[in-house]
Symmetry: C3
Subunit: 470 residues, 3 copies
C-alpha cells in the first residue's frame, strides 16, 4: 500500500500533497448524491449475498468492460429484465472469470476502487489473479456473513455523516420511514427524482400518473393537478429529510411553455398520444417549473445531462436498463439553459447543480456560466470522469474561470455501497495533489490550500446541498 498514491512523484509537490491530504483524510464523508438502496440500511437483519452479488452484478463499470471483451452477461449471471439468469448462477465460477480477466482493468478507476475496498474494508492486500481467486472469494464470503459487515456497521466504519439516496417521485419512501422509526442514528435522506412522471413519452406513462395520483392523494387529471401532486410529493420528501431533487435529461434543453401549451401537451400525454417534440418541450418546460418549485421549497436542484441511455438495443431488450450501455453525447448549455436562466438564473434562492458527460463544456460553457449566474453550481466530474484524470481535467478547466466556490464539492454517485470510501479517497487525494501543484508553482499559498482542501473534501458538498451546520 502506497501512502502517497496518486500524488505527483516530484518530492516538493508530494510533500505538500501529503500534508493537505492528511488534513482531510479522517473527515466524515458527505454523500449528497448516490444510488445506494435504502433497504440495506433500513433492515437491521440485512444479509449480503455472495461476493459476486455485492461486487459484480450491481456494478456496470465492471461488467461493461468484461462484456467489451466478449464475455456475455449470461456468463456473469446478470439477470435479464424478466429476472431470469440464464446460466446456473455459479458465483464461484463468475468470480474466477472476473479474476482471470482482471488485467482488463489496468489503469481504470474500477481497479483502484476494488483494490482499495479489498484492502481497507476486507483486509485483503493481495493483487487479484487467477490463482488466488478462490481464496479471495472465501475470505470475502466469510467477512460478508459477519455482523461487522452489516451495512449499518459499515456506515459507521465509513464515517458517513449523511447519505442521500435517489428515489422516484412516486416512492412512498417506506425504507426511509422505517429508518426514521428504527431509532438508528445514521442520517439517510431521500432525493426527489421525478423523471418517470416528467418523461411523457415513456410507454407506461399512464401508470406513472395513476401511481402519482395514489401516493399524492391528488387526482391528476390536468396540468394544474399534476403540478399540485408534484408539489405534494416534494413536500413529503422534504418531510423525510430530503434537501435535493435530481433530474436526468439527454440534453439541457429548457423552454418556457404557456399554461395553455403545457395543458394541451399534458392532455395528449394522458391519452398516450405525444410526439417526440411534445416530450422534448414538456421536459424543457418542467425543468423551469422545477426550478420555480426549488425556489419556493428550498430543495437543491440537480441536473444530469448528456447520457444516451440504453444505446445497445438488443442488450436493452434482453437485460433492461443500466447494463453499461449508456453512452455520452455532445453537450450544449449556453443556448439550452438560457430560458431557465432568464427566469431564475439570478435568484440566490435557487441552487442548480449541473452534471454532464461532455468535458468540452467545462471550460467553454459550464465554468463561464457558473462563474456568473448566482443560481449555478457545477457538480463534480460524473460517471466515466469520476477518475483521477477526470478530476484533474475538471479542476484544470473549471477553476480558473469559476473558482472552487461555484463547484459543489464531491459526491460518489454510486450504487456500489462498499466503494464509497475508496471513491472519496480518490477525490481527496486528487484534490490534494492538484492544490499542491498550485502551491509549489506559487499560484496559491499554503494557507489558502489548507482552507481549500477542507472545502473540496467536506464543506462545499455540505453547504451546496444544505446539509446543515457549517
Amino acid at each position: 500500500m502506497n501512502e502517497d498514491r496518486y500524488f505527483s512523484p516530484e518530492p516538493a509537490q508530494r510533500q505538500v500533497a501529503r500534508a493537505l491530504y492528511d488534513e482531510v483524510k479522517a473527515l466524515p464523508l458527505i454523500c449528497p448524491h448516490g444510488h445506494v438502496d435504502p433497504r440495506l440500511l433500513a433492515d437491521p437483519n440485512y444479509q449480503w449475498g455472495t461476493p459476486v452479488d455485492l461486487l459484480i452484478i450491481p456494478d456496470h463499470y465492471v461488467f461493461r468492460m468484461l462484456y467489451s471483451q466478449g464475455i456475455r452477461l449470461e456468463e456473469l449471471t446478470i439477470p435479464t429484465r424478466n429476472g431470469v439468469t440464464v446460466d446456473a448462477p455459479d458465483h464461484r465460477r463468475v468470480w474466477q472469470l472476473v479474476c482471470d480477466n482482471w488485467h482488463l482493468f489496468r489503469g481504470t478507476p474500477t481497479s483502484i476502487w476494488l483494490r482499495d475496498e479489498l484492502r481497507d474494508i476486507f483486509g485483503i492486500d493481495e493483487k487479484i489473479n487467477s490463482a488466488n481467486a478462490q481464496s479471495i472469494y472465501d475470505a470475502l464470503s466469510g467477512k460478508l456473513a459477519s455482523d461487522e459487515f452489516h451495512p449499518r456497521a459499515l456506515f459507521e466504519r465509513f464515517n458517513i455523516e449523511v447519505l442521500a439516496t435517489t428515489d422516484p417521485a412516486t416512492s412512498t419512501l417506506e425504507y426511509h420511514r422505517a429508518l426514521r422509526e428504527s431509532g438508528w442514528h445514521g442520517r439517510i435522506i431521500p432525493t426527489f427524482r421525478p423523471d418517470a412522471v416528467v418523461n411523457i413519452d415513456t410507454p407506461d406513462y399512464d401508470l406513472q400518473i395513476q401511481r402519482l395520483s395514489e401516493v399524492s392523494g391528488i387526482e391528476v387529471k390536468d396540468y394544474q393537478s399534476y403540478i399540485a401532486a408534484l408539489e405534494q410529493r416534494r413536500a413529503y420528501f422534504k418531510s423525510l429529510g430530503a434537501t435535493a431533487t435530481d433530474h436526468a435529461a439527454l440534453t439541457a434543453y429548457t423552454k418556457r411553455l404557456s399554461s395553455g401549451e403545457a395543458e394541451a401537451i399534458f392532455q395528449r400525454a394522458l391519452k398516450g398520444n405525444v410526439s417526440a417534440e411534445d416530450a422534448r418541450c414538456f421536459t424543457g418546460h418542467m425543468l423551469i417549473e422545477m426550478a420555480r418549485m426549488s425556489i419556493e421549497d428550498g430543495l437543491v436542484m440537480q441536473l444530469h445531462a448528456g447520457s444516451y441511455r440504453n444505446h445497445n438495443t438488443s442488450l436493452f431488450e434482453r437485460f433492461g436498463p443500466d447494463m453499461g450501455a449508456d453512452i455520452p453525447t455532445a453537450g450544449e448549455f449556453t443556448a439550452n439553459l438560457k430560458p431557465l436562466l432568464d427566469a431564475y438564473g439570478n435568484e440566490k434562492a435557487l441552487t442548480l447543480v449541473l452534471f454532464n458527460l461532455d468535458e468540452t463544456t467545462y471550460s467553454r460553457e459550464l465554468a463561464p456560466l457558473a462563474g456568473h449566474y448566482p443560481a449555478l453550481r457545477l457538480g463534480p466530474p460524473w460517471w466515466f470522469f469520476d477518475s483521477l484524470n477526470g478530476m484533474r481535467r475538471f479542476f484544470d478547466n473549471v477553476v480558473e474561470t469559476a473558482g472552487i466556490y461555484n463547484t459543489a464539492g464531491f459526491n460518489d454517485d454510486t450504487r456500489a455501497y462498499p466503494s464509497i470510501p475508496a471513491r472519496h479517497n480518490v477525490w481527496r487525494r486528487a484534490s490534494a495533489d492538484w492544490l499542491a501543484d498550485h502551491v509549489v508553482r506559487g499560484i496559491i499559498d499554503e494557507e489558502d490550500a489548507h482552507e481549500m482542501i477542507v472545502d473540496l473534501a467536506y464543506r462545499l458538498a455540505k453547504q451546496t446541498y444544505k446539509l446543515g451546520g457549517l
Copy 2:
C-alpha cells in the same frame, strides 16, 4: 514573492525555465490588441478615481465572480446603462466587500494579476484580507494621486513599446490625434473595429450609418458608397498609425454574396427591415470584403469568434453590455471559414489572426488550418483562457501541428491598464516553462528554446501586427 512562480517544481525544468524567462523578462511589451481607453494617455492631466474606479468597476472578471456568489452589481456601485449607481457610491465599503470575498478568486488569473499589480506597481506585498482592506485602500489612494502613477508615467515604467486601442469605425480618433499632436513619445495606435456598422440587425443601425456618412464625408446610400466609406475610414485609421482591424462575430461563418444580393440586403438594412438570416449572411460576406481590403491596404485582420454576448437578459436590460455575462459557444472554422479562405487564404499579403473561445477547435481545426493557409495566424488564448492552464492547453494543442511561427505571440486584450505588465509576465513565464519542458524532454534543444522564447515574448506579436523593425 516567488521568483520561480508558475514554473514546474521539477529542479531541472525549473532551472531551464528560469534561464529562458530571464532572457525576456525585461523586453519591452508589445500590446497589439486591447481595450485601454486612449483618453487616459491623451490627457496629460488625467486623474485616476478611487481604487474601486480603477480595479473593480471596469473589470468584469472581478465582478462576475462576485455576482456569481450573490453580490449584486448595485452593491459594487456598477453604473446601470442609464449611468445611475443605485446605492450611494461608497467605494470604501465596496473595497471592503471585495476583500471580504477575495477567497473566491483562489486559483484564478484575477488573483494572480491583482497580486502582481499590488506588489509590482503599488509596492503592496500584503495578501488581501478583510482586516487589511482599508489600509490597502489608503495606500492605493495615495499612490493614485501622485504624478508617478499618471498613465503616461506608468506607460514608461511598464516599458510598453506600442499599445493598440480598439475603436469604432465611426470614431474620429480625437484622442489619438491629440496624442500625436502632444509631442509625447509613447506609441499609441488605433485599431479599426467596424462591428457596429456591419451588424445590420442592431436597433440603431440607421444612426450608425448616418454617423459613418458624417465622419467619412461619403453619403452612404447604397452598398457601393458603404464600401467606399469603410475604405475611407480604414485609410483614416491607418493615417493615425493603425496596423490592424478587429471583427467580432458569434461564429466564423463566411459567405460570398453577389453584388446584387449584397445591395438588396443593404437596402433592407437601411430601411431597418432585415431578418436574422440577412444579418448572418451580410456579416459573413463583409468578413470576406474586409479580407479583400486588408490585402489592399495591408491592415492585419483580427477575428474574435464565439461569444454569446449579453446572455443574461435582465442584467443586460439594467446594466448594458460587458457585465460579465458573455458566454462562449461551440466553434466551427473548417466549414465556416472556407468561403473566405477560398477567396484569400492563399494570399501572403493577408494576415488573418483568429481568436476563439472553444478550445476544442485548437487541435481539431485551427492548428491544421493555420499550419496550411499562408493567410492565417492563431491569436493567443483569449479571455477566459488568458490563464496559465489556458496557455498550456494552447501550446500543447497548437504547436505540434502549426508550430509557433503560425501564432501571433501574445496580446493582453485588457481594459484594465495597470494589469498589463502582470498579464505579459504570466505569458512569458508560461512560455518559458512550456519550452523548458520541451528542453528537458529532449524535444527541442536549448539553442532553439532561447530563440523561441524571444519569438513568443516579443517578436511574433511585433511581426504579425507589422509593428516594424525586426
Copy 3:
C-alpha cells in the same frame, strides 16, 4: 542524442520509463496500417531518387508547414496533378530552402522524426541549418545510392515483422504478387480500401465500376452483382495475405437501407445521377454491409472518419489530393454508429477499429463505446495526433474508461518509408513514460506495467489485426 528523450525529467519516473522502454525498444515493428508503396519492395533493383524525392515531396507534413509560411509548392518542385513541376526541379535548391526554414518545425513531430531518421538511419547527427544543408544533401545522396539503403535492406534493418500497404479495391495487387513470387522473406500484405467504388458521387464513378467488373470478372450491373464483385475482391486480397480493410468517410454516419433502396440508389449511381444525400446514405449503408462481410470473411475493418479532404480548392485544382490541405471536422459517433452497432456491435467475430481527428470524442464517445461493444477497438491517435501530446491525450482520455485492451496498439500510417522506425520509437517512448507516471503514482504496479508496455508496443497491434502467433 538523448537516451531518455521524451521521458519526464522527474528522476523516479524517468528511471521507470527507461526500464519499460528498454524492454521493448528492440521488439520487431508491427505495421498493420500505412501507405508505403509496395513497388519499393517488389523491385529488387529499386533506386531512390534524390533526398528531396525521398524526404520532402511525398511528405505533406513537411510541405504544408512550408506552404503556410508563404513558400509555394512550385518552389518545392511538388508536381501538379498533370505531373508538371513548374520550376526546374533543382533539388539542391529545394533542400536548401527547406533547411533555411527548418526553424518552422521546432516542437513538431516532423522535426523529431527527421532528426531521428538522419541520425539512426543515415548516421547524420548534425542539426539541420542553412550552413550544413549542402553537406547533408551530399551525405544523404551518397547513402541512398548504396545497396544497404535499398528498401529491402532497410526493411530488415528496421526489424519490420509485417508491413501492410493500402490498396484500392480494384487493384490487381501486382506488386504484392511479385513480392510473393520473388521468394524474398519480408511479409508485405495488402489492405482492401474500397472508397473509390463506394463513393458514388465521384466524377469517375462509372470508370471505377467498369474497372471493378474487369478485375473481379463479375459484370456489375446492379446492387447484387456489385456486392458479389466486392466480395470477390475481398477474397482476392485475402488470398494475398490481407487481414484488414480500410474505409474513409467524412463522418461515421451509418444507415441501414432496404435492398430496394440500395438498388435504387445504386442504379442512379450507375447513371451518374446521384444527390449528395444519395451518396451519404449509400456510404452509411455500405459501412454496415462491409461489417457484415468482415464477420463472414474475418477481415478486420478500419474506419477513418473526420477529414474534410481537399479543403483548399485552388490548390486542389492545381495539385490534386494529399497536398496538406485536409482539415479535421467535429466528430460524432454515438448516434452515427448506432445502426451499425445495432446490427453487429455485439458480434465478437467483428473487429472494427475506429480512427478520428476530433480528440473530444475520445473520452466522450469512443472510450465509452469501445469499453462496451465487443466489436469495437480504438485505433491509435491519427495524423495530426501522431505526436507526443497526441499520444498523451489519447491515453489520458481513453484508458480510464476503455482500458488498453480495447485499443489497437500502434500503427505508423505513413507513406514516408524511412520514418517508420522513428514513429514507432516515439510511440514506445510515449507509452513507457505514460506507464511510468502510473507506476510512480501507485495506479499500476511495475509487474503490470511491464506487461502493458509489451502489449502497447507489440502485442495489441498484432492481435487486433490478426497477424498471427501470439
